[in-house]
């Protein structure tokens, strides 16, 4: 079995990592973006439907690209 970076479940996996994981800096020289934790919850709920994902552009950005190549980023 080969790992994949496409599909609905992959987007949820990506959200889990980017929103909840990664190093968290607790210092007074750091701020967090306003409203992001709440948006994170809403996004996960929204991803339950493929149509919603298309609406928010996530399918378009992630699905047609088998493995988003770091040298050719899909986001500009």
């Amino acid at each position: 079995m080969e790992p994949t970076r496409t599909g609905k479940a992959t987007i949820v996996d990506l959200l889990d990592r980017v929103l909840d994981k990664g190093l968290i800096l607790n210092a007074d020289l750091v701020i967090s973006l306003a409203g992001i934790p709440l948006i994170g919850v809403s996004l996960r709920t929204a991803i339950a439907g493929v149509e919603t994902m298309q609406k928010y552009g996530m399918m378009k950005e992630l699905l047609p690209v088998p493995l988003p190549s770091p040298s050719e980023p899909t986001i500009t």
């Binding site: 889990d16 948006i39 980023p73």
Partner: protein
């Protein structure tokens, strides 16, 4: 720049000496801004300029920011081999008469030992997500067939009057539910051990809600050297072949869960 903040994507160990202290990474980041690399003698930080305080309650906007974050961390991961990714939305601000850049460089210098040791640990490694789900209705017949207590109760139901049989059927339902819970625990331990043997590090994550009738048995983040996932893939193939079990295997991801 003194009044600007710096959005921090990741910290990395430089693979080559960069010509300047501020190099354009060649990718657009959140809101299409240029992404730069700031370097100290031992570490570098991948950042972009941003306002000191901003946010959004628009899901489309935030979705784009998340994808941009991931694209930048992916590129850094490719370019520098080792990255310590930061959680989405980390902004270094100007404070106490110092610019955000000065604060960032001070912080990198102060934390270099800690960050370097995290980085070395993650060098050349990738993270993979594994979710195993099952359909209890497909697994239950096997368990019912082999459980002596259930078999005995079923025989008893068949030989009793309808009133008594009704009560016994309720008892049977509870018993089957209990056996399924026990089976879930046994499968979890068994599959976890099999997967653990194929990876370098493993984290058990919270299970997610699945579309019925499927239920998620386990949600794992696994760390292993890039390109060395054949034994894991083979193990997952075996699990996928088990009646009523389904496997999702995602990645490779930068090692978000192991920092």
């Amino acid at each position: 720049m003194a009044d600007k903040g710096l959005y921090l994507y990741c910290v990395a160990l430089p693979s080559t000496t960069l010509p300047t202290q501020k190099e354009d990474l060649g990718i657009k980041g959140i809101e299409g801004r240029d992404v730069f690399v700031f370097q100290t003698p031992t570490l570098l930080a991948v950042v972009q300029e941003c306002e000191q305080s901003y946010g959004s309650d628009d899901m489309k906007t935030v979705s784009q920011w998340i994808l941009s974050h991931q694209a930048v961390v992916d590129l850094a991961w490719e370019k520098f081999d080792m990255v310590v990714p930061f959680s989405f939305g980390t902004v270094i601000v100007a404070k106490e008469g110092k610019s955000a850049r000065e604060n960032l460089l001070d912080w990198l210098e102060k934390e270099q030992g800690n960050l370097k040791s995290k980085g070395e640990k993650l060098k050349g490694k990738a993270e993979y997500g594994i979710q195993i789900t099952w359909d209890p209705m497909k697994v239950a017949p096997r368990i019912v067939k082999t459980d002596q207590e259930i078999q005995k109760l079923e025989k008893e139901i068949a030989s009793k009057s309808s009133g008594t049989a009704y009560l016994l059927r309720q008892k049977l339902e509870v018993l089957v539910g209990k056996r399924m819970e026990q089976a879930a625990d046994i499968y979890f331990n068994e599959l976890y051990q099999k997967i653990k043997r194929c990876v370098e590090d493993i984290h058990v994550e919270k299970v997610r809600k699945e579309e019925p009738p499927r239920q998620m048995l386990m949600n794992l983040s696994c760390l292993l050297p890039k390109g060395e996932m054949d034994p894991l893939g083979e193990e997952l193939d075996k699990i996928e072949k088990m009646e009523g079990f389904f496997v999702r295997f995602t990645g490779p991801w930068p090692p978000y869960s192991f920092v």
